[in-house]
Subunit: 210 residues, 2 copies
């Protein structure tokens, strides 16, 4: 990372983190010794905010409390779409019904999902990720969610636009063959898989090719 | 109903009710003046119990509290499948994660769903039905649920077996073009749609034909 920065190459950190603001995320990485600032981070919530503004959408939020500040500047009165993230403890029966009612009340329901993960591991065990709840709302409302975040093409395009470079000029470095490598390649970028983090040897082949 | 009974024809009441035991369901209908007994009711929970026994499955239950007594005789220790019904207030974040962990911990996850409804209306508004939560678990575990209840073929077959008649000898009477009429017809029965209950004129065509 330090060598990339020293070389003068443009750089973005692309994360699917939706349980915390970029500020919190960056502070955590800085604490680990990484040279990183908020302005260098591409994350699903700001990407969603861009879409909301472009299309004059006013979201009903079903997200983690710690993510709400990312939507501070967005008009949320009289919602005409639902934004779902990994809401964790906020995934209550009442909150899910409320989000559903907002969606089903629309002539053409708009559901924006900050990721499509199935599940993840925490210290106290496996947890359902946002993708599962996205599927529940998709089925109930007979609608297809627009997914923001890796591996969505629009997410990589945002990062490229922020750097002002074309896909051909960029390389994605990550440990996830689907979300990092596959997503970037589908966007016309080259990609490099590191053999650290969640990497396992079985992961060198994209699931679609196994 | 009284004329069918007086004629000596065999009769079953087929319901997708999964928020109460058959006892409670029957008491409600008796209170409305219907001549009905528990032994005449085919419902998803007993149908699921039959499957559980046949295949030596021990369920982890994610169902409404009032439905639990239907599973009283079923061994639930060391579960090797998950049974999901319309659990309503029991659809908590913790309970969903727990059901998910049981499923994902199996070599070949078995998910049995007491219906596939999308949503329904109660006095305090629309609620997500069991189908939405079924989809969430299906997606998270990459598994397909086995649906018990109308319009599943096995459900109508259970009712026929209980009466000891073939599909050709039976007629289904109901107000729902998909769950009652379509399900029965796919099972080889004839079916009659009443123009009462949830019937609307648009419902005379099955959605697949609209």
């Amino acid at each position: 990372l330090n060598r990339i920065k020293a070389s003068g190459l443009k750089l973005r950190f692309c994360t699917n983190e939706t349980q915390a603001t970029r500020e919190k995320f960056v502070k955590k990485l800085q604490g680990m010794g990484f040279d990183i600032s908020v302005a260098e981070v591409t994350a699903p919530a700001p990407a969603a905010c861009r879409i909301l503004k472009e299309r004059s959408l006013r979201p009903h939020l079903l997200v983690h409390n710690d993510l709400v500040p990312e939507f501070a500047e967005i008009d949320k009165a009289n919602p005409n779409c639902v934004v779902i993230g990994d809401a964790a403890e906020n995934f209550t029966y009442a909150n899910l019904n409320e989000a559903f009612r907002v969606l089903i009340g629309m002539e053409k329901p708009v559901l924006i999902s900050l990721g499509r993960g199935r599940y993840y591991k925490e210290t106290d065990g496996l947890k359902l990720d946002v993708g599962a709840y996205m599927k529940a709302l998709e089925y109930a409302c007979d609608v297809q969610a627009e997914v923001v975040g890796k591996p969505a093409k629009t997410f990589f395009e945002s990062a490229l636009a922020e750097m002002g470079v074309s896909p051909q000029q960029a390389i994605m470095i990550g440990d996830d063959i689907v979300n990092d490598v596959g997503g970037a390649q589908r966007c016309g970028m080259r990609a490099l898989q590191v053999r650290t983090g969640k990497y396992r040897s079985v992961h060198t082949l994209h699931p679609a090719l196994r």
